[in-house]
Symmetry: C2
Subunit: 350 residues, 2 copies
DNA sequence: TTGAAAGCGCTAACAT
DNA sequence: ATGTTAGCGCTTTCAA
């Protein structure tokens, strides 16, 4: 076991003071070329790396941002996490990631852990699974955060004093509705999700609000607002819709909007299973533009949130706040429409 | 901005010494109930959280393991990362994750960063994309690591003094070959990958070595060892195989082994495109049991590595080494066969 | 340009 | 059971 090597080791051997070693380490002051070289040589020789812990003890910034996500095995979070990491790296910050797996208990611990690690700020990815977390528990957690640590969330709730960067869900739905409308669809179904998830609720409300103007037949039987956000549940939901319409002797929808891509993909399976073609018989569209949308057959029309700029906004909000720049409390991420085969039979390839 | 609060703040107000506060914080010694309660009350009152930095400066263990992965947007790494996190949490360790995106430069920085953060050990996920990293650069990096920091990798190379936890690739291939053999397949194709990736080379070597005994017709024309590890490349590769066999007037394979699941899924697309049925005309199998194998049509037969125990082994190796338990240098992860529709027409559902 | 010394927040050995 | 004190490894005045 090699002896621990510190700036003192270097200083002693270079016959300078530790302060001088620190100076070359940080380029914080002029050091004579002679001494500098001697020191740099020793640093290499011993493969010395300064302790971020000791440094963090004195310096006001750790250059680390905490990131709380439900589960990076979910592609949505993986994308967002990575784009945050990249955005942070640009400004020489690191990301410290904690997965909560949707468990409130773990989530609370995550905050504690991050605070103990003295992260400079916290990004909280509410996202798809924010239904597990009640507003109440959010409030409790946030109250405990010192105001010096900027907190930014993708969660959608009012009355909480924090930074928010959120998807413009309403606009996202508008894009999809407009697209379907332009393709002459009238009987449009909206599938999946639960109403205690804010993003879901927004979509349903918007659908009811704007659907008529888009020329949709606003029959509530074409809303199947139950289940989760997964592929199998999407399939189940679509199955249920088929059953219901059959019983009520109502015509099939011309288009189906999944509450997210997974739901839409599940719906596709159900439709195919029922012997129908996509998009010839029924168009299908989703949300999120996850990787799989480009893989499934046919490729899925969806709404993209531009994860790169999403992550950038999250990180910038934290750093700007740290730098005293007072970022706006609430920023929106603007979605764009990605048209693929599942809603456009003209499209070549799959 | 609230004043910074430390154990001294608490100590002073509780009229005790900082040491006593430390004692209740760590339960490291007996403290009278009276003082303990007073202290605990103040901790709650101020929402005090002890600095992991200061603590790390004195304590020998930081309880943090560094994890270097190529890209957690790749489901393989996401699964492995999460299982490591879960395994670590059981022993009260955290994971500090860094993505390298296959860039050697970033990878080097990752080591430096982790060392500066004084992680207790480092896990390096070579995995699917370890072709980007030459053995040479590994050696260089590893030489710089102090021997006190256990390093464990999933990479497959000899002559480097480190811990290795790796997939038993040969056994994995054996499982697939046996399965196909038992289903009466003779003309079996092996598709995708590059030979400078060790895991790929192992598979090809094993195939050549054991194929005959399995009753396969060992025609080299049924090996298409080129391309990457992605779905589109898998499709291209299969397309190329079709072309070649047509030109040479050779019969189609009865089964196709993809070098990984993505390649296999791409091959499926090619096969379907050529108007053939899976598995009736051609069986397809892959490796890794990524999530998508359960989604594609038909579901893909594959080999599973049990990410839970994989991660557990990685983490245990680090911690055991830290605890002076001298874990074995090389451990194998045992794969299991997952039979699905793509190689078994008897199977119900998709 | 350089060094001495204090301090960051905590733990642990030693004393009481 | 509790307090005193000396580090841990670094940065940063302040002097020289």
């Amino acid at each position: 076991m090699e002896r621990k090597i510190t700036i003192y080791t270097i200083a002693k051997e270079a016959e300078v003071s530790p302060a001088t070693v620190s100076r070359v380490l940080n380029n914080s002051a002029n050091v004579s070329t002679e001494k500098r070289q001697k020191i740099e040589h020793l640093i290499r020789k011993y493969n010395f790396s300064p302790s971020a812990l000791a440094r963090g003890l004195t310096e006001p910034r750790r250059k680390v941002i905490g990131l709380i996500a439900a589960d990076v095995r979910n592609p949505f979070y993986a994308e967002l996490y990575v784009s945050c990491e990249i955005a942070a790296a640009k400004k020489d910050y690191s990301i410290m990631l904690i997965n909560t797996f949707g468990k409130v208990e773990v989530e609370k611990q995550a905050f504690t852990k991050l605070m103990e690690q003295r992260v400079d700020g916290i990004i909280h990815l509410g996202g798809v699974a924010d239904d597990e977390v009640t507003d109440h528990s959010y409030v409790k957690l946030l109250e405990k955060l010192p105001s010096s640590v900027p907190y930014v969330t993708t969660g959608k709730f009012d009355g909480i004093d924090c930074y928010q960067v959120q998807i413009d869900e309403a606009k996202a739905l508008d894009l999809l509705m407009k697209h379907l409308s332009q393709n002459g669809k009238h009987r449009v179904a909206l599938l999946g999700g639960r109403n205690n998830v804010v993003s879901t609720r927004i979509k349903y409300e918007r659908f009811l609000e704007k659907g008529e103007a888009m020329g949709f037949s606003m029959d509530p039987d074409y809303l199947e607002n139950w289940g989760y956000y997964t592929i199998p549940k999407g399939e189940e939901t679509m199955d249920a819709l088929f059953d219901k319409l059959k019983k009520k002797r109502k015509p099939l929808p011309e288009a189906v909007i999944g509450i997210n891509d997974s739901t839409a993909i599940g719906a596709c399976e159900s439709i195919t299973k029922h012997g129908l073609r996509i998009p010839e018989d029924i168009s299908v569209v989703g949300y999120d533009n996850i990787y799989m949308t480009q893989i499934v057959e046919p490729n899925l029309t969806t709404v993209d949130y531009n994860f790169v700029s999403f992550g950038q906004k999250l990180v910038d909000t934290v750093i700007d706040s740290l730098d005293g720049k007072e970022p706006v409390r609430k920023r929106l991420v603007h979605p764009t429409l990605v048209v693929r085969r599942s809603s456009d039979s003209e499209r070549s390839g799959s």
